[in-house]
Amino acid sequence: MEQPAQNTSSGVDASFDQLNRDWYIDKAVQVLVFLGGISAIVFIIGIFVFISKEGFGFLVGDFNFKEFFFSPNWRPTSESKETFGILALVAGTASVTGLAMLIAIPFSLGAAIFIAEFASGKTREFLKITVELLAAIPSVVWGFIGLAIMNPIIIETFNVPVGLNVLNAGVILGLMAAPIMTSIAEDALKAVPDRYREAAEAMGATRWQVIYKVVLPAAKNGLLGAVLLGVGRGFGETMAVLMATGHSINIPTSVFDSVRALTATIAAELGETAAGSSHYQALFTIGIFLFIITFIINLAADLIVRGVRKG
């Protein structure tokens, strides 16, 4: 009997263990992708540090918790006594966002239900593209619509002196938020497995019963996430509300009152303040406040939408 021939006496063959081109490309891509992945975190921390630093002087100096949150007087340039109360600004933002949601929620839910449950084939594709197109319209264009189209309509229809008010901005912001909410809500509805629909249909549920009793409950987390994203959008929107609210400091008592939003205040005033002044720093403190609010809203939305995927 012959023994099988051996390549080397020790049996070690390390020729496959080479750091070749593929190996280096793989490593390089890994590093690049990693950097891309963490860049978002770096940026968000950077932004937070920056606005905190700018607002810090105010927070430790002139900042008066009670005045800041509970005074409706925002008089940063008063000669006798500067006051930095954001209550009216918060009320402005909240009223506009609230009205916007009243308009956007039914619209976007209706649109999402139609696209996901009723429309089919070409209609569906066409609607989806249209909705996405709508979401991409720049906010300044919406602001322009508020200023040039909505304003005279409101003045004439309701016989009020000014058409730049909560109603105008609420409608504009509602129309702005609706497309993105529709898109997310539609995703949530599409994520409901078809076998749920089939099971309900087989039981004799009508189409509306299938949606109302089965699909909506199954998608409720995703739908709530969509609404919260809309709210976040409302809070953060600047240009359109600056143009459509009338930009006057007011705690609104009706939808025909002009108001001013937190974001719009920063946008309008920051360019005219001396860097480092109390006013400048107070604006950054508003920035911190907005940052925290939107962060909480987005985080809540995200956690809720995630919850849906797991369940």
Binding site: S120, R195, Y196, E198, A199, A200, E201, A202, M203, G204, A205, T206, Q209, K213, V214, P217, A218, G311
Partner: protein, 250 residues
């Protein structure tokens, strides 16, 4: 009495025939088995019966299916038809509702609002589906969180909750363990006195255990219909039936 009459039935998807030449009557209170390998057209047949083709524009049904001697293709209110026919799908579908709401859904769709009445229905159906003892203390928990076998029994309870005149089971035991399968089979035997049952199964022995008569579907045709026992003792028209029940193919 004939519960379901089928005449010259054929079904196509997007122009492609998946089933043709189906002719038989299903008697009231019988268990009618349908056996056959995959792609024989068994599930399509069930879909045609309760008009699930309605939302599927690709699916066309020709021929005649009469339920209670009413042509189902001419029915205006298909929801009414479906409420008379309970369906159990191959894979369990626990709806993401509580166990209670899963079973109470169909009665509620039918307009039942009385809580006491619903309680009775829920308990009766879960008991019949051999699930009551396992879930009676947690009726509020999610139906979709039950195990596969439990979900399938939940599905059966749900199908029974609408007090169907006919029950269609499509390979119900695929995701169920053998012990549970036997318990459900016992339930089906009891139900025979009240309900007409169509049992689609890929287990020929299950058909033998339960079905009074059995049809053999093969490659989109109904090859044979006969008294179940005849199929198994070799008294068949078609050689392929014998080969199939004896396990020589499929």
């Amino acid at each position: 009495m004939v519960k379901l009459g089928v005449k010259d039935l054929s079904i196509s998807y997007a122009g492609e025939r998946v089933l043709e030449g189906v002719n038989f009557d299903i008697q009231e209170h019988e268990i009618f088995g349908i056996i056959g390998p995959a792609n024989a057209g068994k599930t399509s047949f069930l879909k045609a019966i309760n008009r699930m083709d309605m939302f599927n524009t690709e699916m066309t049904v020709d021929g005649e299916i009469r339920f209670n001697n009413v042509d189902v293709s001419k029915i205006r209110n298909v929801y009414g038809l479906r409420r008379r026919i309970g369906v159990v799908f191959p894979l369990p579908v626990g709806l993401p509702l509580s166990i209670y709401d899963n079973v109470a859904l169909a009665p509620r769709l039918g307009g039942q609002k009385d809580k006491a009445e619903l309680d009775i229905i829920v308990e009766r159906c879960l008991t019949r589906a051999a699930l009551w003892d396992e879930v009676k203390d947690r009726l509020d928990s999610l139906g979709s969180m039950l195990s596969g076998g439990q979900q399938q029994r939940l599905t059966i309870a749900r199908a029974l909750s609408q007090d169907p005149e006919m029950l269609m089971l499509d390979e119900f035991s695929i995701a169920v363990d053998p012990v549970t399968t036997m318990r459900i089979e016992d339930v089906l035997k009891e139900l025979r006195s009240e309900v007409t049952i169509i049992l689609v199964t890929n287990l020929v022995q299950q058909a033998r255990r339960l079905a009074d008569r059995t049809a053999f579907f093969l490659g989109g045709r109904c090859v044979e219909v006969g008294v179940t026992e005849d199929l198994f003792t070799g008294e068949v028209q078609d050689q392929r039936t014998r080969d199939y029940v004896e396990g020589r193919f499929g």
